[in-house]
């Protein structure tokens, strides 16, 4: 107790240094990723500067690299996926954490987790042979008044933005719903009981819980957004890989991750390679920012909540004993 703070026992020091060096290695890897991406994209950064991000021409043959279509494709597909997946993910989180009968909860959690565990390549394979033909059939059946809207213009190819957004939405739902479920779990039971005591209906009580958890839920959705931004294989296989900027859901487009997957191994010149790495650098930076913000949202919510939750659980165990 009265041991001076500055004297650390040698065995403690060995233990701390031993495990700490591995921990440090983990941190070093993350820093190295950023450093390596900056280093390997120097040629492109020097050559094009900001022009890289506002130019539409991507022509490796003449050495002209503009990344705007890829950024557009990545953001557009991820935002569309978010629009489709958010209500469904929220519905699932609320159903499992607030409404489902106890016997259904575990199996439902298992099923959504299974959906999250299916490899991206399997989604892509299914996308090519099942989803794309289905989307093509939908597109063929577009009524004339709809086809005149810019959102639905263009030939019915099947591959394109709509297929990409759908497959991303399917992949993001289990992810954001499971985080949202955790967040809802951290809402103190008293919040709901209070609402019921005041005569609230089921939905009104749930709304109180969701409102209490709002920051964390926004965080969960953003975390899903981060996933959608970086998702590679499934999108590459269904988006059509055509670098163009279009509002049309039917148009084949391209994403940052897809161009890396398709062209990286074929980059013939140093400038070409550096241009691709610069795309990787920006993808890294965007996902990093999205993740940091969403995690801070979730922590601000879960931090207080989980402690309280643990206290409740401990109390319950004591009562049972």
């Amino acid at each position: 107790m009265s041991m001076p703070r500055f004297s650390i026992r040698p065995d403690e020091l060995v233990f701390r240094a031993g495990t700490g060096s591995f921990a440090l290695l983990l941190i070093v890897i993350v820093v190295a990723i950023g450093a390596e991406l900056v280093k390997e994209s120097q040629l492109s950064i020097r050559e094009f500067g900001w022009q890289f991000w506002v130019t539409d021409v991507w022509d490796p043959v003449v050495g002209q690299f503009g990344a705007r279509p890829f950024i557009w494709g990545t953001l557009y597909s991820a935002i569309l996926a978010l629009i489709i997946s958010t209500p469904i993910a929220l519905g699932i989180a609320i159903y499992i954490s607030e409404l489902a009968p106890q016997v259904l909860r575990r199996p439902l959690v298992f099923l959504t987790e299974l959906l999250a565990a299916i490899p991206s390549i399997v989604y892509g394979l299914w996308g090519i042979f099942v989803l794309v033909p289905f989307v093509r059939a939908l597109e063929v059946a577009t009524p004339a008044w709809m086809a005149s809207l810019p959102l639905f213009s263009g030939p019915p190819l099947g591959v394109g933005m709509l297929s990409a957004a759908l497959i991303l939405a399917i992949m993001v739902v289990p992810f954001s719903s499971s985080v949202a479920r955790e967040v809802l779990k951290a809402v103190p039971q008293a919040q709901r009981e209070g609402a019921y005591a005041l005569g609230a209906t089921r939905w009104e009580a749930i709304r109180m819980a969701v409102f209490y958890a709002r920051t964390g839920i926004v965080g969960a959705i953003m975390l899903g957004f981060g996933r959608a931004l970086g998702e590679t294989m499934a999108v590459t296989m269904v988006i059509g890989n055509s670098p163009q900027i279009s509002w049309s859901l039917y148009a084949p487009q391209y994403t940052m991750s897809a161009v890396l997957a398709n062209e990286f191994a074929e980059a013939t010149s140093d400038l070409y390679l550096h241009a691709l790495v610069e795309i990787g650098l920006v993808l890294f930076t965007i996902t990093l920012l999205v993740n940091i913000v969403s995690r801070s949202f979730i922590w601000s919510m879960a931090g207080a909540g989980t402690t309280r939750f643990r206290v409740f659980r401990r109390a319950a165990i004591k009562e049972a004993a």
Binding site: R9, D11, F15, R16, G18, T19, F22, A23, L26, V30, A32, I33, E36, L37, E40, I88, G91, I92, Y95, L99, F110, T112, L114, L115, A117, I118, P119, S120, I121, V122, L125, W126, I128, F129, V130, I170, P174, S177, W203, E204, I206, G230, T232, M233, M237, S257, L260, A261, F264, A265, L276, V277, G280, L283, F284, T287, L288, V290, N291, I292
Partner: protein, 282 residues
Amino acid sequence: MRSRWRRGLSSLIVVLCGASVLIALVPLALILFYVLTQGITSLNYAFFTEMPKPVGETGGGMANAIVGSLMVTGLGAVFAIPIGVMSGIYASEYAGTKGAAAVGFAADTLNGVPSIVIGVFIYGIAVLPFRQYSAFAGGLALGVMMIPLIMRTTEELLRLVPQSLREGALALGATRGRAVFTVVVPAALPGIITGILLALARIAGETAPLLFTAFNNRFWSTDPTQPIATLTVQVYTYAISPYADWHRQAWAGALVLVSMVFIFSVFARLATARMERLHQGG
């Protein structure tokens, strides 16, 4: 009147929430249905034992890719397990300190890095300097992706171990290192191993980080310094090819991948449920 409206709205929302569960289960059912039906009719003995046939010839299998996947995942595990487990121990032992927070933050960051970007990183440090795609580089890429998963699992499971166990060891005069490695870690070991297996199963299904690290190889290879075929990259190559027989084999590969993930998930779920019961009882 007003309360009827409120109750009506409430029931409507309840129904909508239930419906969203069903909506999410539709693609799951469809994917499993297609992978099963297309996969089972395509999967045969030759798939596991034969080499890919040249373009145009039907038949053949993915023997080299299966071995390649095992090898690349194994290399990744060798690299990731020590770093993941040790930093997990650090994070749980020094929970609340700045160091632990920094490691946790780094792990979460790494977990959020898109897998294709990990591939670019490994290309820069392990392919470019040697001008050579290699199984080793592929393993490194998968390893980097495994580290945060293993680290977080280890940390969580160590925290589940009752404090009294550690205190008992310390009271008997054990040093911190001894208490951790001979008492605390063994108590959590079954869970940690399950977590590691789950991480392996997940990462074994990755394709993007292998495209330009392990690359691909039409031939039999177990040389870590040479490019190597993997199941996932092979499925990708076959899926985007124009040949019906290759499509068939891609479905077979997908079935193998999904079964692997499914078996590991069920196994892990049973194991964690057992862990929880064990600790809640004690």
